[in-house]
Amino acid sequence: MKQKEFIATVLPFKDKLYRLAKRILVSGDEADDAVQEVYLKLWKGRNKISNYKNPEAFAVTMTKNYCLDRLKSKQASNLKIVHNNFQTSENVERKIEANDGVQLVFKIMETLPEQQRIVLQLRDVEQFEFAEIAKMLDSNETAVRVNLSRARKTVREELIKKHNYGIS
């Protein structure tokens, strides 16, 4: 597979991978590194990539696994970094900062368990079908729905709590 062909195949979902990586790793820099690593791996296996029915789903799975590994190794070496920079693109940054409620939603999402964060990202942000998500996560649709429901409910509860305190 030529470089041009490879890029045409895998570049359209670069931003999706980046957002997923950032949802898991929180830091934008870490997410950039993760995406770079995933693309290198895809590049090395580029002759096989055309065999996969869905390169995007394959890349999402790779990104998820890579990011979870990163988290694990970081926790193992007690280097859990706490980043609050959930913004990279400047216009998005401004929009988030302009809205206390939205900012809060992003903060709440960071506190979710990883699996819930991933499911919420893939469904409510990237809008994948349940069947696709189940395949990406090597899980089943019921489990995906359960995780998603928990994630949504947690966000709702936290949001309503703050709302009732009159922050929003």
Binding site: Y18, Y39, V102, V105, D124, S149, S168
Partner: protein
């Protein structure tokens, strides 16, 4: 009626039982500036999720340059062809003689012809001599 539908969709949403189309309806509803007051608390959630999708990666992907792969067997084929051409040229090409050499060759052939003619004449002459030897024999018979 519209509101009742949204409320119903919301309930299903939190149970994880909505389709993508239904979730789109919810996002659309909450993207309005005015939502029902008792649902206002949900607005940031849907706004946030919509906004999260607008985030893009600004860093370029750095791929290693693709190396130009020269297939090894090509070297062998190319070398064989060159050698074959060289040998064939050496074998099949006619030796080209210079003008001087050609003249020398013609002169040599003419000389040879002349020499052959001369030797032929000598041989004829030598045959004539056999008569003389016969004459000597007869003379000896008679004059013992």
């Amino acid at each position: 009626m519209e509101l009742a539908r949204i409320e119903k969709l919301l309930d299903a949403y939190f149970e994880g039982n909505t389709s993508l189309a239904e979730e789109e309806t919810l996002r659309k509803y909450f993207s309005q500036n005015e939502v029902a007051p008792h649902l206002a608390a949900y607005k940031p959630m849907f706004d946030g999720l919509t906004l999260a999708k607008q985030e893009v990666s600004v860093k370029e992907i750095d791929l290693p340059q693709q190396q130009f792969k020269v297939k090894r067997w090509w070297y062998g084929v190319a070398a064989s062809v060159v050698i074959a051409i060289g040998v064939a040229g050496f074998v099949f090409s006619e030796p080209k003689l210079s003008q001087e050499e050609q003249e020398a060759l013609i002169a040599f052939q003419k000389t040879r012809e002349a020499m052959q003619m001369m030797s032929q004449n000598f041989n004829e002459g030598a045959e004539e001599l056999t008569y003389i030897s016969t004459f000597t024999q007869t003379k000896n018979k008679i004059l013992k």
